[in-house]
């Protein structure tokens, strides 16, 4: 790679970073917490640097898909470490952040019923709903981030919304009946 090419690539990455690093950082903060979020952001943009020619014209879904993989990889590694530590120490070990992504996102919610309802959803349903509601992706963008067709996404989104509505109804009724707030209980 010549110096000019390297310079042009740097400029492209900088433009990409300034346009979307905030969104990627917000996504990462909701999933891995504030401390580890910047590490995730840097890893995502290192991947973008290596695959700059693969970055599409609408890069946000691609970057969030990448961030999703990075976060999943971090969690797998954390779980392996926990398993290995347990194996070496012959004792059970309590992980710092069990199944981090949902736990992290839900622990930040002030709406206890919403946290409870989201925790009852499958990982796929929750990720899809959060990509649309929190990351502000359109259906087409979310489909690209999750690697599925727009039709498949429309069906999944419809079902996920229905499940969330049902879970939310249950959680609201439970809270109204005077049951302890699950979010507070978790803390």
């Amino acid at each position: 790679m010549t110096g000019v090419e390297e310079f042009e690539r740097r400029l492209r990455l900088e433009a990409l970073f300034h346009a979307h690093a905030g969104a990627v950082r917000a996504y990462a903060r909701r999933r891995v917490g504030r401390v580890a979020a910047d590490d995730t952001v840097s890893e995502v943009f290192v991947v973008a640097w290596r695959r700059l020619d693969d970055v599409p014209d609408d890069p946000l879904p691609w970057l969030l898909g990448c961030a999703r993989n990075v976060v999943a990889h971090q969690h797998r590694r954390a779980r392996r470490d926990v398993a290995l530590a347990g194996r070496l120490g012959a004792v059970a070990v309590a992980p710092d952040a069990p199944d981090g992504a949902p736990a992290q996102a839900l622990s930040q919610l002030s709406d206890g019923a919403l946290a409870q309802a989201l925790s009852e959803l499958s990982d796929g349903d929750r990720e899809l709903l959060l990509l649309i509601a929190w990351e502000g992706l359109t259906g087409a963008q979310a489909a690209r981030a999750l690697g599925c067709s727009r039709n498949a996404l429309a069906v999944r989104l419809h079902r996920a919304r229905r499940r969330l509505a049902a879970a939310l109804g249950r959680a609201d009724r439970k809270l109204a009946a005077g049951a302890p707030d699950p979010a507070k209980e978790a803390v």
Binding site: V46, R79, A83, V93, A133
Partner: protein, 246 residues
Amino acid sequence: MSNVMERLRAGNPEPGCDPPSIEIVWRRLESEREVAAGSASPDRTARLGVRRRTLGRLGLALASAVALGVAALAVALLAGGHSGSGGAPSVPQQRTGAPARRRAAPAGTVAPSVSAGAVATPLTLRMLAVGRYCNGEGMQLVACRPGQRPVNAHPERLVQLSLTARRSAEPHSWYAWDIEASACPQAGRAGATLEPVRAGARLTFDALIPAGCRGRLSASVSYVTQAPRADSEHETLVGRRTVRLP
């Protein structure tokens, strides 16, 4: 249902976020380059050499297999030709009855990954009484005898996860387990088998959950095999079970 999405949007804990400095990316790239430069060592060259030799062997095996296939086809065609005109019944193909060749771990350093079908088995999750528990034989938790020191400072619920191992676990493979309570993340327990496990053995793992913990309790067990790279593993799900804490 649009109200649901509105409520979800309103609950966004990080609605906006300033981008960090791009320096974090350049620093990371720089450190990765330094690591890569440092690892262009004889070790890496040796690994590449092994990879090339492996590819060479694979190519040779593939070429042999193709040649054998062509030869077998030619023999079959010739035999068909000798048997006369097209109406003759073909000889049924004989099976040797030889067992399927097992993927062997190269030189005892790694174990091959396994399919989910080979290890999947139902998990049993028993919820025992809330109380103080002591170490019994084989790291199992049991009710304390008089004078014995309990492992838990406060009364806790003992949860026992058990399963029948369908596959043996050797030095390069093991069963990893994980129990977590959705409402009490700090109560999660995880671990793995330490000793070799023979197929058919009953495995039991214990976890203590705080007495006041409610909600879902989920348990999962995986069969883990060591992968060629020292820092990676193949993980195959053995089973998953979710119950509601009483």
